[in-house]
Subunit: 285 residues, 2 copies
């Protein structure tokens, strides 16, 4: 594929490293699975502001999809992604084949245990975060960034990445960046393009439920159960939603809370037909 | 504990890092569990030759011992270790409490799969290499060495460490250093001090068996089964030994071989009473 001006496209980490060189200023990394939207672009823009050079990786990582999940149908739109990135350049884009990320003999796996590795997404998507942790650590090793940028729509994912980066003392700074939303509040996600118009309408219940929880919290409610009930009531009204969880949790460990007596976050996950959506909102007084 | 001249002793990685500073030349790391012997000293000497500064870590890592193994009775001899290290100085010794290596909240675990993570030691000590990989990656993160030195007596351990260091692209060079032996051939090991005189004599069967295998190989035998049989015959004569394995394996992946048609190694493990010993020898023509 021919890359548009502003973008240097690499399919191998070795070629990327040769182009980046060493000692030419800081390197920022924005790891993505492609199917880029304005949420990804907000990460790229922040990285461009803060780092001398910015690498965007585009890799649909098989290891983070479970059996029956949407790995095979996950949107792969490299030409459109490059066109979207071009005006943000100069950018280094690393879009590797599977063998470049996992060459023959690759056999390491990184896992985050504790509550973070057990609750919420970890419970509904067994093995998912092992796949995420392993590929992100691998990308850190291949790209050697000074700093990496992640969207907080995938809140638990970011906590998992913070955890192993700290535990292993990896020399990479991390930023979690605010969720970018459509005008009507739906969190941007590559999976939104799976939704038909009726589902697209129903999907708004996620952010409505989170805002209801936030409103209850701001009104002084400190019982996590009651705040969750306020959110769940909104989700339950949308009959086409299959609610997986709505949880008020510790903002760092994601342990479920009884009383909201520390920094907390409300998180939810729902299925609409074959599509699974997640969203979250901080609970701040 | 007061450290002898030539040795700077640290119980916290933060204090060690402050003392080492940055940009003052290369840092070599020799990770140990203490109970030091001449095998460890050979690593320290090599590190001192090759690196500007050398850190020796002394940490009996609970995560790499299984239930029923010798974690609680593993020899802890810090004063003697420091005395042994002092003439090799200047050295930075990092002898942390468990909480410095695994602080509250630590929850990452690194695992090497494939044959390396399944055969031989991995089969007899389930979870052992996960504990090794995690603590070594953790020590790399805490000490940030340029290069680390390991003894090849723990052959499979070194291959596991090579594997994850490469897979995660960790910026640490690795050297596997030759096994140091007693005059009669017994591989030096902190666990040798568990042996009573009769066991100490019986333990020589390990190196005798490996040399018998090597002799068969040098005489032209290329059937792995026959080379193993030559080694096993020697071990079987020593009735007090409980033989766990004697295996001829690929020198890199440790996959069992049928024909010895590539770089190979013979490895064995035996129990003598409560003590478990391992040893290995390369098969070279």
């Amino acid at each position: 594929m021919r890359a548009p001006a502003g973008v240097k496209l690499f399919h191998s980490a070795a070629a990327l490293a040769r182009s980046l060189g060493r000692g030419k200023g800081s390197v920022g990394l924005v790891p993505t699975m492609g199917a880029l939207h304005l949420g990804h672009l907000s990460l790229v823009r922040r990285a461009r502001k803060e780092q001398a050079r910015v690498v965007v990786s585009i890799f649909v990582n098989p290891a983070q999809f479970g059996p029956g999940e949407d790995f095979s149908r996950y949107p792969r739109t490299l030409a459109a992604d490059l066109a979207l990135l071009a005006p943000e350049g100069p950018l280094w884009v690393y879009a590797p084949p599977v063998e470049d990320v996992y060459p023959a003999g690759f056999s390491s796996s990184l896992s985050v245990g504790g509550p973070l590795g057990k609750v919420l997404e970890a419970q509904w998507r067994p093995g998912h975060f092992d796949g995420v942790a392993t590929v992100v650590a691998r990308l850190f090793g291949l790209v050697r960034p000074d700093h990496a940028y992640f969207g907080l729509k995938d809140y638990q994912q970011f906590q998992v990445i913070r955890r192993f980066t700290r535990d292993l003392g990896l020399p990479v700074g991390l930023s979690g960046c605010p969720t970018v939303r459509e005008a009507d509040g739906l969190a941007m996600s590559s999976r939104n393009r799976y939704l038909d118009p009726a589902q697209r309408g129903a999907a708004l219940a996620l952010i409505r439920s989170l805002r209801a929880a936030q409103a209850a919290f701001k009104a002084g409610q400190r019982s996590a159960g009651r705040v969750e009930a306020a959110g769940l009531a909104v989700l339950k009204k949308e009959r086409s939603l299959d609610v997986q969880y709505f949880s008020v949790a510790d903002a760092g460990s994601l342990e479920p809370l009884a009383r909201i007596d520390r920094p907390a976050v409300a998180l939810c996950a729902c299925r609409l037909g074959k599509t699974r959506l997640i969203d979250n909102l901080a609970l701040r007084a």
